[in-house]
């Protein structure tokens, strides 16, 4: 495993290289070998593929990325900015893709919560969901150095959030990490989990994969907070399988990264499952973020709700491709998708593509998408009561985003977002979403 954990070749070189040295665990070696073969066959996806039409990975493919060493000192230096160990049931910290036990807070875990390094104890469920999801997931499977395995026992409730923190530090070469997460929610368990991907400097590349097995009647609040360096590339694949009666909530927040691509697929495989999938993207400069989501209804009587909001400034570009698939026989599906984008400049650009694929006749599926500049009537209204022009625009931007953030139940995540937005919008740093009140429509589905 260790040899595999630290491949020395760059990704660009890896194209031609044989599969890295293996762990000696047959199933894992097989998994990696197959994933590697697939990746070699496909290479990086190109913009001629429909799913990647609007996100160009050529700059990544061209760069000689290779893994960086674990730099604990640099990791410790930025840890303070992203940790919330004090509010967490457990915090597992990785630096440049490698587990950093000394930076983690994994003491006093309840017996019902198991958290361990995937490198140390790979679990056989690994790769069962995100298998061949896409080329990047294959690359992760072939090359991941380490990751987190989280298992919550049957009928256990973990009152405080579990935090997986993946830090990237500045390296003297283009660095890549392939963080891997496996979450096993046993039946009737309940917990909140946060994956934070963060860095302060550098044009590194994070290629993350998360698999979530959500057992029957489990209740999972899954949060992804992407605060990478603004020069970094971040690609993620999250695959979820829900059981019967599972309640799964996903909050994906993208604040960082120069180039971001998130693929989230949720399989509703059991009756009465409920999925809520929300996202917030805040971009400026020339940054780009592409969110692809799939709500895969493969059982009857499942509602799903999706709300993605983008705030795009400068020359930033956003993509939202949300697909709702209702498989044959998945009657009484009730799915609602909403995508809203606020363009703060004439040069920002949004591409929003809903897709409904329905093979059952007794279902309700709706989607709606709006993209537009700030409503000048709203600005005028606020100004006419004495609020300064800039402050009015900032307040409206904050409120637009707050519509999503107020649904986030994990307080440290909500606070992080509030702080970031307040700072970005030049609003009082102590501004809290709760101060804005007006939560008429909030919390409906979260």
């Amino acid at each position: 495993m260790t040899q595999l954990a630290e491949p020395t070749q760059s990704v660009a070189c890896l194209f031609a290289a044989p599969v890295p040295t293996l762990s000696g665990i047959t199933w894992l070696d097989d998994l990696r070998r197959v994933a590697w073969q697939h990746f070699q066959e496909t290479g990086f996806p190109s913009t001629s593929e429909e799913d990647w039409r609007l996100t160009n990975l050529a700059p990544i493919a061209r760069t000689a990325f290779r893994p960086a060493a674990i730099d604990l000192a640099a990791g410790r230096e930025i840890l303070g900015k992203f940790t919330f160990a004090a509010d967490a049931a457990a915090e597992m910290v990785f630096v440049n893709g490698l587990f950093a036990p000394t930076l983690s807070s994994l003491d006093h875990l309840p017996a019902s919560l198991q958290i361990s390094s995937l490198a140390k104890s790979p679990h056989e469920q690994l790769g069962r969901l995100a298998i061949h999801a896409n080329a990047l997931a294959n690359l992760n499977t072939a090359a991941f150095a380490d990751g987190a395995m989280v298992r919550v026992a049957k009928s256990a409730t973990i009152p405080r959030p579990i935090h997986l923190l993946f830090l990237s530090t500045l390296a003297d070469h283009p660095a890549v990490s392939h963080p891997r997460t496996l979450i096993l929610a046993e039946p009737n368990s309940e917990f909140a989990i946060v994956e934070t991907y963060a860095g302060v400097h550098g044009g590194y590349f994070t290629n993350a994969v998360t698999e979530i097995f959500a057992g029957d009647d489990s209740r999972i609040d899954h949060n992804r907070l992407q605060q990478e360096s603004h020069e970094a590339c971040h690609i993620s694949t999250t695959s979820v399988r829900m059981g019967r009666g599972t309640r799964f909530v996903s909050h994906s927040s993208t604040l960082g990264g120069k180039l971001t691509r998130n693929d989230l697929s949720v399989l509703l495989s059991g009756q009465y499952g409920q999925a809520t999938v929300n996202g917030l993207v805040l971009l400026d400069g020339t940054r780009h973020c592409d969110n692809h989501t799939l709500l895969d209804h493969a059982a009857t009587d499942c509602p799903s709700h999706e709300l993605y909001k983008h705030v795009l400034a400068g020359k930033s570009t956003g993509v939202f491709a949300g697909k709702i698939l209702v498989r044959p026989g998945s009657q009484k599906t009730d799915s609602k998708q909403t995508s809203k984008t606020l363009l703060l400049s004439d040069d920002a650009c949004m591409n929003s593509q809903p897709a409904l694929e329905i093979y059952a006749d007794d279902v309700k599926c709706t989607h709606g998408s709006t993209t537009g500049p700030m409503d000048e009537e709203q600005v005028f209204y606020l100004r006419s009561r004495g609020v300064q022009h800039d402050a009015a625009r900032q307040l409206l931007t904050y409120a637009f985003a707050a519509d999503v953030t107020r649904r986030i139940k994990v307080e440290p995540v909500r606070r992080r977002l509030e702080d970031y937005m307040a700072q970005q919008q030049g609003l009082p740093t102590d501004l809290r979403i709760a101060d804005l009140g007006g939560a008429n429509e909030a919390v409906v589905n979260s």
């Binding site: 409503d375 000048e376 009537e377 709203q378 005028f380 209204y381 606020l382 100004r383 006419s384 009561r385 004495g386 609020v387 300064q388 022009h389 402050a391 307040l395 409206l396 904050y398 409120a399 637009f400 707050a402 519509d403 101060d435 804005l436 009140g437 007006g438 939560a439 008429n440 429509e441």
Partner: protein
């Protein structure tokens, strides 16, 4: 000092012209003249499209309209040179004909920001939460409003009547010197109209003025104007006392048009 010298108009509009701020935008105000003294209530009546609401928006600085001529002085200041928010801070308030819905921002948060920006401008100490709440409760009671208003997003999902009442509530809290009320009566039932009128009447005073814009005479039963004007095709074409409003109610606007045509 003679009577004439001591008279300072609170609002003095001279030959005001404005058009829609777009290439080829239509001229809407075509030379409005209007003088309002402190202590007075004026009403502007007129048909749809006569320019009444545009006048209110231009006075508040809406940049959807471009002023192409004329002047507006308020308390002796060149009002047109001020930004919208500066006008608000100087004590001008526009109660909107169509109050805007702002999802995600509560009336409470917004109004506190508004009040404090006005107070700051007047070099008064900002209100803290306790003082603000006290002020707000008093005004809410006056307008018979439910306390939940404050925590709801501004106008979101409000009925027409609730929106109008919210405008007058905000007006009462902001305590303006010059209140511009744009068709505040439309969408109100008779009880709400009475309450709203009472709120407006409390803002009458020797230092203040109110400009009411309305289609109907009905509101003027509750807020008695000192002067009534008729606006037609971007100009004020008739002015008179309260009797003019009754005459308009009875005879419609056409006789004014005919009389003008005959001149």
């Amino acid at each position: 000092m003679g009577l004439l010298e001591s008279f300072v108009a609170l609002l003095e509009i001279k030959d005001l012209r404005a058009r829609v701020a777009a290439p080829g935008g239509k001229d809407i105000l075509k030379g409005v003249n209007l003088t309002i003294a402190a202590g007075e209530v004026h009403a502007i009546m007129g048909k749809n499209g006569s320019g009444k609401s545009t006048l209110a928006q231009v006075l508040m600085g809406r940049d959807a309209y471009q002023v192409t001529g004329g002047s507006v002085h308020y308390k002796g200041i060149d009002l047109l040179a001020l930004s919208t928010e500066e006008r608000a801070r100087e004590g001008v308030f526009l109660a909107f004909q169509y109050p805007v819905e702002i999802p995600g921002v509560s009336t409470s948060y917004f109004l506190k920001a508004a009040v404090n920006s006005i107070r700051k401008h007047k070099k008064l100490p900002e209100l803290d939460s306790v003082a603000f709440l006290k002020l707000v409760r008093e005004k809410m009671a006056m307008l018979k409003m439910d306390a939940s208003f404050m925590n709801r997003a501004i106008n979101e999902g409000f009925s027409g009547g609730e929106k109008k009442r919210n405008e007058i509530f905000q007006m009462a809290v902001c305590d303006p010197t010059l209140s511009l009320m744009d068709e505040t009566d439309s969408g109100l039932d008779i009880d709400a109209l009475r309450i709203v009128a009472e709120g407006a009447n409390r803002l009458r005073g020797p230092e203040r003025a109110i400009l009411l814009i309305t289609h109907y005479q009905r509101l003027l039963n509750y807020i008695t104007p000192d002067v009534v004007h008729v606006m037609l095709n971007g100009r004020i074409v008739r002015s008179g006392d309260k009797a003019l409003a009754l005459e308009l109610e009875e005879r419609g606007y056409e006789w004014v048009e005919k009389e003008l045509a005959a001149v």
